[in-house]
Symmetry: C2
Subunit: 139 residues, 2 copies
DNA sequence: ATTTGTGCAAATCGTTTGCATCTGA
DNA sequence: TCAGATGCAAACGATTTGCACAAAT
């Protein structure tokens, strides 16, 4: 009954977010929220879905990731680079980023904080403060 | 004589950086370093050059920006988004970024600092810590 | 029945590359 | 002379879009 109740929960979650629980969204939500926190790109999630036998187009993966982000189910990570990452951990935290292989890690909670956030320029308000710690393999 | 001496200085600067002072590089350096600190994209610099009557291809602008960055004349800004920005201020500082119109401002020096930089994951070393304060127009 | 979502392929955007030609030391 | 630079156009990778078709309420 575990799967069934999990499915019910996911369905409920989507509904509460104002999204119809379609086949594709249910499946992608399953992959995203099924086990611990994850950092994914559209490409990665698409491949994973295909590998899992879930037929879904890349365009739909993009749509879904954006819709989930808008509804607060995911956090869009504005790391640099060409690719966009999405984080299933929507709470406030920062990241290590390795340009070499494009991997992302969380900075352990509380290990690093910003001191003295400045006020935004005239007529602007702050929406977020993102810290990216760039790393590379030693030696 | 002001222009002449400035030109000499630029030429010298390029030479010291190990770059031949070609027509195009001299011209682009003039635009970049001629007046105060700037944040530019390849596109912006290219248009500016054309507007100034400097004939240069976009590919060369990209080449030049990258070469300047490698030699420490510019700082590549890994702000998010699709575009890459280059900063003529190579000293350590952080940025405000407005996604709405893609503008960048410096965070006033010393207004904000990182407390407790964590150690990098096993086998990795930190190359930089970048802070981006995202802002949007009020109301 | 009506609204909403999906898939596909083509289109877009910023950036890079291959290669023939030119230029500065 | 000749390594190094440049320009052009084609190639690229990630993302978006237009539109016909399918699925949810």
């Amino acid at each position: 009954m575990v799967e069934a109740s999990q499915e019910t929960t996911t369905k409920e979650r989507l509904r509460q977010a104002g999204l119809r629980p379609t086949r594709q969204r249910m499946a992608l939500a399953g992959l995203l929220f099924g086990a611990g926190h994850r950092h994914v790109t559209a490409e990665m999630l698409h491949e994973e879905a295909l590998a899992a036998g879930i037929s879904v187009s890349l365009a739909t993966v993009y749509n879904t990731l954006h819709q989930f982000s808008e509804r607060g189910l995911l956090r869009r990570l504005p790391i640099d680079g060409s690719k966009t990452y999405f984080d299933t951990n929507v709470s406030h935290h920062h990241h290590f980023y390795c340009e070499r292989d494009g991997t992302l890690f969380d900075v352990p909670g509380g290990a690093m904080e910003i001191c003295g956030v400045p006020q935004a320029p005239e007529g602007m308000e702050i929406t977020s403060v993102d810290v990216v710690v760039r790393v590379r393999p030693k030696r």
